[in-house]
């Protein structure tokens, strides 16, 4: 029962953050949501007893994907006000 509650909470968080990625028009906010999404996904992997995958997701999702997205966001904006779609 407790397992189910824990898993349900994480999955709710996962879906909420995925929804935020969709919802935010601002790219920077979406990138931050993507970071949260990545964290929670890694936690979910850990609950599903996959520590290898969790480490990979953590190492790549937390550091590198964020960095790549940020660099791309920075490369595709003219001025600070032009973030939005």
């Amino acid at each position: 029962m407790m397992d189910l509650i824990i898993q349900g909470l994480i999955l709710i968080g996962l879906l909420l953050s995925a929804g935020m990625i969709w919802y935010f028009r601002d790219l920077l906010s979406a990138a931050i949501s993507f970071g949260v999404f990545s964290f929670l996904l890694s936690l979910e992997f850990l609950i599903l007893q996959a520590p290898d995958v969790a480490i990979a997701e953590a190492a790549i999702g937390a550091g590198l994907t964020t960095a790549i997205f940020i660099l791309a966001i920075r490369a595709t904006e003219k001025d600070p006000e032009a973030d939005a779609e």
Binding site: D52, A54, I55, A59, G63, L64, L71, A72, R74, A75
Partner: protein, 154 residues
């Protein structure tokens, strides 16, 4: 404008630790969670940490792109050559030609639940190191290449 001096010092202090941890993950790939990709990504993150903390000029002076590219190619070559040696040893491609031979990485493994010995695993540790080198080079090169576009004239 770059990150403050504090961040730079902190990144410098953190870097050896991240490197050691990355190598730990790579080398202990066959015993604990982790392996080539994960460790390589962690080591690459150490370089990314430096890249984010320092200015472009410093990075260009002190991190050599050629070195990283060579690391990547070296890792790939080591990987595929390790796999090809199996053919010479008379077993199929990707065969584990080192396991239980008693030589390097060839100690017979204890069966069942045990903490494990570093010196086991046959070709698995070698392949871990190879993939680690490859991933480390690849990820750093990706970030550096993208950074060059951002700071070019965008």
């Amino acid at each position: 404008m770059n990150m403050s001096n504090l961040v730079r010092t902190g990144a410098g202090l953190l870097m050896p630790f991240v490197l050691v941890f990355g190598f730990y993950i790579v080398i202990h790939g066959h015993l604990t969670p982790g392996g080539g990709f994960q460790g390589g990504a962690v080591i690459a993150t150490a370089f990314v940490l430096l890249i984010v903390a320092h200015s472009r000029e410093t990075i260009r002076e002190r991190i050599s792109l050629g070195f990283l590219k060579n690391t990547e190619t070296l890792g790939l070559m080591l990987f595929i050559v390790t796999a090809l040696i199996a053919l010479a040893a008379g077993i199929a491609f990707f065969g584990n030609w080192l396991v239980n031979t008693g030589s390097l990485f060839g100690t017979p493994v204890a069966f069942g639940i045990n903490p494990g010995d570093l010196n086991t695993g046959g070709v698995i540790p070698i392949m871990n190191i190879a993939v680690g080198l490859e991933v480390l080079g690849a990820m750093s090169v990706i970030i550096l290449a993208m950074l060059s576009v951002v700071r070019g004239d965008a």
